[in-house]
Amino acid sequence: IIAMAAVFSEVASAVGAAAFGGANQQGGQPGEQPQPGESIFKSSNHPTALMFHLGFKTAALVVYILGGLISSSFVFSFVIVTLLLAFDFWTVKNVTGRLLVGLRWWNEVNEDGTNEWRFESREDTSRIADIDSRVFWLTLWVTPLIWTLFMVSTLLSFNWGWLLCTVVANVLSAANLYGYVRCSRAAKDKVGSLATSVAAGMFTQGLSSRFG
């Protein structure tokens, strides 16, 4: 599984580098651009978190795909896949999101019973490694797509038991995706308003220094 995760991550980093290469060339970024072939874990700030982030997802996919071959019992495979999916959901939501990209989302229930979704982001983004962020977002987007493909294939083959499994996988990964997208939007809004106020302050300061 670790080997598969490493392979998966190499592929992911190669794709990520090809897609976004050249975009983030400014200096002062922690975590250098990975050379092709160099292990991405070296340039990551949180290699353990990265490994778990990829590990659970890959393990769930592997067990699902090889389900028929590993064990003759549907129940056993289903349970393993579901548990792996649940661990992955929890890890991405509570641990790797925090460590890799400094975002977090959760739900709070108020006194009167209404509930609120909260999205928080780290103010200072300089500690976030480039490779961490790329791998995080890439896997976050790719996982629901893969599970949707599997869902469609089980639907078309009328395989109801595994359809349930893919539906569960889809719901969990899509929920994480949605939460983090909302988070990053909230963060961008925060940065946008902050930048506006900073620019306004600098402008007035420049004006006053000119005329002062």
């Binding site: 289903f78 929890w90 509570n94 925090r98 400094g102 739900n107 229930v109 009167d112 019973g113 209404t114």
Partner: protein, 209 residues
């Protein structure tokens, strides 16, 4: 606002072990509250911190137990269209679907009755309250595996399922009564009873030797 941002910073940077411990303590507290419905220890706070881990584990355990039930012996055998493994798969998937969609339907009902309850919180409570029925299923399976077909054993099974049903219903209705307007409490309680009764019925059927 500053209080909020302090709290946000704390949860963003806390170490993983703290997160894990907090979640586990949460789950333990809720189980305790379900097991002893009368205890008023921090009831409001506990229920507000909903999580779906407990329901997931309980549902998986129940589904595994029921799908390995000895009733499969009745349907297996030569010439039978469905093998025992297929039966097990069907029962497992059915229990899973019944638990989650049943809880969702009961929750939607409570919400539609103008109850001030959050969707996930209600599913959390309903899921945790299945725990007594899981214990009954354990007892029933034990009796079923021993293979005794006497009336006494049947009574034992029915009694344990009955106790589990009453316990589950009592625990969850206690929660629902707090959040639904009193005039509608019977309307909110009925689907809950139906939900747990259907699970209890499946337990009785699947554990017959």
């Amino acid at each position: 606002m500053s209080n909020m941002s302090e709290r946000m910073e704390t949860t963003l940077d806390e170490p993983v072990s703290v997160t894990l411990k907090r979640e586990l303590r949460n789950i333990g507290d809720k189980m305790y509250k379900v097991v002893l419905p009368n205890s008023k220890l921090n009831s409001a706070n506990e229920l507000r911190n909903w999580d779906l881990w407990g329901p997931l584990i309980i549902c998986l355990v129940l589904a595994i137990m029921l799908s390995s039930g000895s009733a499969s012996g009745q349907y297996g055998g030569k010439g039978s269209k469905h093998s025992a493994a297929d039966q097990n798969a069907v029962v497992f998937a059915s229990v899973f679907v019944i638990v989650w969609f049943g809880a969702a339907v009961v929750t939607v009902n409570a919400v539609l009755l103008k109850g001030s309850v959050s969707f996930f919180q209600s599913i959390c409570v309903l899921g945790y309250c299945i725990f007594p029925l899981t214990l009954s299923a354990l007892v029933c399976l034990g009796v079923g595996w021993s293979g005794c077909r006497s009336t006494l054993c049947l009574m034992v099974r029915l009694a344990s399922v009955g106790v589990g049903l009453l316990w589950s219903t009592r625990a969850s209705i206690g929660f629902l009564a707090e959040v639904v307007p009193p005039k509608r409490s019977a309307l909110a309680a009925y689907p809950v009873v139906l939900f747990y009764a259907s699970i209890a019925w499946i337990i009785v059927i699947r554990s017959s030797p």
